[in-house]
Amino acid sequence: MISERMLNLTVIGGLLAVALAALVLDQPFTITLATRVAILSLAAVGLNIALGLGGLVSFGHAAFFGIGGYAMGILAYHAQTYTPLDLGLFTVAGTKSMPVIWLVAMVLSALAALLIGLLALRTSGVYFIMITLAFAQMFYYFTLSWSAYGGEDGLSIYIRNGFPGLNTLVPIQFFGICFVILCAALYLFHRLEHAPFGLALGSARQAPMRVETVGLSPMRLRLVAFVLSGAITGLAGALFADLNRFVSPTMFSWHMSGELIVLIILGGVARLIGPVIGAVLFVVLEHYLGGMTEFWKIWLGVILLLIVLFARGGVAGLLSPRKVGHD
């Protein structure tokens, strides 16, 4: 049993140490795996704001992940083919600049989260789960038939986008970018959890009637959380697309939404470090179990079942239990 603060520092420090050790030992593939962990963690930290703090079981966060991915894909595609992007009223040039892509990815996914949230948050419980799932599927089918950007074949981007002052093609530099963003998102999550907004959001999860009687609107709190959550997951989507230099409708698939929830549950719901632990476990399982058997997802399924049935609170809950159980 270790303190939560210690656990957080160990996990984050461990991720950085693995990447640096891989740099010293000249193992670029391990750095790429660590980058994958950082990006998946970031996506799950985003989801954790809605799911962990707000209690909103979104089964459609792949929508924002995919929108981020396609924001990167479309902008970089127009930049690499030197064709303008026609937006109807006016045209813009594509770009290979990461900060611009990130901004677009976050704004678009926040916008999508606002629209989906306005509809889905009218309901709760199972309806919310199914509606978020259905809207993510809508994007999935739309991109599948969107022949201008590759349809089901997806879009390949030949050269990774650039960041001023860095060479993003060097694995450790790209890892650095993702790691810093992940740390920033974790810091944001931590501040949010203890800020008046986060406390109100938590109360809206536990006792919405009381929140309403003190004059706050649970719906508005949840909507803000959902939009924020979508924007962060969207940013992760743009980075993920940049890591693979490829986007396809699979980023929108419901397996993606499911896996993001799995990351959080593996690690521990509403725990700051939960998504990172979950992502580490997921990538390690995927890489090592996947190397042993083609059917590794059977074992992922079994592990997941065991955690849901017997180890509520995830790995963070096992290593550093909280005195008061979360609902």
Partner: protein, 306 residues
């Protein structure tokens, strides 16, 4: 755009709709009685289709194949209910989503392990193949017509089961107050296993019936599962009547949208643009329908509970 084409497409939409109803009825029943969201329902559809394909390949009989589908899916349903699902009734929806998502992984990869990644084929029997001439001189495949009839009959049977039998009374009582009927001496855990197996059998039947016109492969249940979710969100969760109306709406919207939207846009755009825009819009048509219903009625057309 002839009258015959329109009738054909309406029939196709109905056929798709009644098959969706078989899926959605089980889902909505399980949610209504046990309050459980079951993502693994699509896996039961797949189990039915694989059992049918295996038995049809082995015996050559389509009826035995259907029977095998019903039994395999019901058995798989009863087993997962007793081993896993039973522990989830008291937990929140997040745990249910995760555990049943885990079941999908186990079922899909397990089936891939046993049967391989190549699709299996289930043939339509001779006595159901070929076209049939409908009044008005319309030629329509006999098998698809049979699916519509079977779907409607199953719907009718389900209605009779729930409204007219003792089991139906228990199911309806279970929806309203589970503590009370347990106190009255009904073995609630047996009832739950039975309802779950019934829902599973309906999904397995749908899988086998549709498997004969599409290919039988791993993951075939997932798109249908998500459509079934859309159906029960539109119809109202827990309502069989809602599932029926919702399934027909979704089936017709999806089929007719794919055919008529491109034609409609050709009136105002170039043919190429109309085809591409129309088919993109048609692919998301049912989700737009769902959004419209939600704005109008957040708990679906026939949903009582908030």
């Amino acid at each position: 755009m002839s009258f015959i084409l329109i009738v054909e497409q309406v029939l196709n939409g109905l056929q798709f709709g009644v098959m969706l109803f078989l899926m959605a009825a089980g889902l909505t029943l399980i949610f209504g009685v046990m309050g459980l969201i079951n993502l693994a329902h699509g896996s039961l559809y797949m189990v039915g289709a694989f059992a049918a394909a295996a038995v049809a390949g082995w015996t050559g009989s389509f009826l035995l194949a259907l029977l095998a589908a019903l039994m395999a899916a019901a058995l798989a349903g009863a087993i997962i209910e007793m081993v896993v699902i039973r522990r989830l009734y008291a937990t929140d929806h997040l745990d249910q989503v995760l555990a049943t998502f885990a079941l999908i992984l186990v079922f899909s990869e397990g089936t891939r392990w046993v049967f391989g990644s190549f699709p299996l084929f289930l043939d339509i029997p001779d006595y159901l193949s070929g076209p049939v001439t409908l009044p008005g001189g319309i030629q329509y495949p006999l098998y698809r017509l049979t699916l519509i009839v079977v779907g409607l009959l199953v719907g009718l049977g389900l209605w009779a089961l729930i409204e007219r039998t003792r089991l139906g009374i228990q199911i309806r009582a279970g929806e309203n107050d589970r503590e009370m009927i347990a106190a009255l001496g009904v073995d609630i855990s047996k009832l739950y296993t039975l309802v779950f197996a019934l829902g599973a059998a309906l999904a397995g039947l749908a899988g086998a019936l549709v498997g004969a016109i599409q290919s039988v492969q791993v993951g075939m249940g997932e798109p249908v599962l998500i459509l079934a979710f859309v159906v029960i969100v539109i119809g109202g969760i827990g309502s069989i009547k809602g599932a029926f109306i919702g399934a027909l709406l979704v089936g017709l919207t999806d089929t007719l949208g794919g055919i008529f939207l491109p034609e409609l846009f050709k009136l105002v755009m170039s043919p190429a643009a109309a085809t591409s825009f129309g088919s993109s819009l048609a692919s998301i048509g049912i989700y737009l329908l769902m959004a419209a219903v939600l704005i109008w009625r957040p708990t679906g057309l026939f949903g009582a509970r908030a």
